[in-house]
Amino acid sequence: MIKVVFFAALREQLNCAELTIAANEVSTVADIKKQLANKNEHWQQVFSNGALLSAVNHDMVNAETQVKAGDEIAFFPPVTGG
């Protein structure tokens, strides 16, 4: 399984903090995003936001990054700390 987590405005928009998906169905971050967007129209719209960032195992990555079972993938809006 792959663990997927959401933060901040994205978590609120999805009303979801965390979910898991089957590792054999996806090979990249882009695949995961696509699968999530396909859930329903609302998720589709939320994930159409091109500004969303993603991380794999706590490192910021781009869409082409490979994922595998046991990874933790995060999606979140641009960061605003400091």
């Binding site: 706590h58 995060a74 809006p77 960061v79 605003t80 700390g81």
Partner: protein
């Protein structure tokens, strides 16, 4: 290299500036320079009156991203000790949000490293601010200018 000289803390509690600087200076007689940055909650942002904000972060990734930033700073400048504190949870106007302190032998290194750390914290560390304004709660938008500041260090 990130060493024991580096201290990163993500905490709800407030911090004391003198105390943090003491930890940069104590038993450290070769670093003559200390630069600190303190960020606080302002009463205004984007023209809206702000009364408080809530800070969310991504535990685990936050620490990892800050360590990477500190490692890069150590590669670029000759630095003694670094301390980074970022608060999370609800913060009222005037409260401290973030502290970056750097000691060095020569002031230029401490100035550059402290500003570099802040600039990259702003665009890479997974913190998000939600403001309580006169118009209700609102997640902050990231600023293009912060991206530019970070990119500026590449050149």
């Amino acid at each position: 290299m990130s060493t024991a000289k580096d201290y990163i803390s993500i905490q709800a509690e407030d911090f004391d500036l003198s105390n943090e600087v003491s930890l940069l200076e104590q038993n450290n007689m070769h670093d003559g320079a200390v630069v600190t940055f303190t960020g606080r909650v302002r009463n205004k942002n984007d023209g809206l009156q702000v009364s408080a904000l809530t800070l969310e972060h991504y535990p685990g990734m936050t620490e990892k991203s800050l360590e990477k930033i500190l490692n890069t700073a150590r590669q670029r400048w000759k630095i003694g000790r670094i301390r980074v504190i970022h608060r999370i949870g609800k913060l009222n106007i005037g409260e401290q949000i973030v502290f970056v302190g750097v000691s060095s032998m020569h002031r230029q290194d401490a100035f550059a490293a402290a500003e570099f750390i802040m600039d990259f914290l702003k665009v890479q560390a997974p913190f998000w601010k939600k403001e309580l304004t006169e118009q209700g709660e609102k997640w902050l938008d990231a600023k293009q200018s912060d991206q530019h500041k970070a990119q500026h260090w590449e050149s």
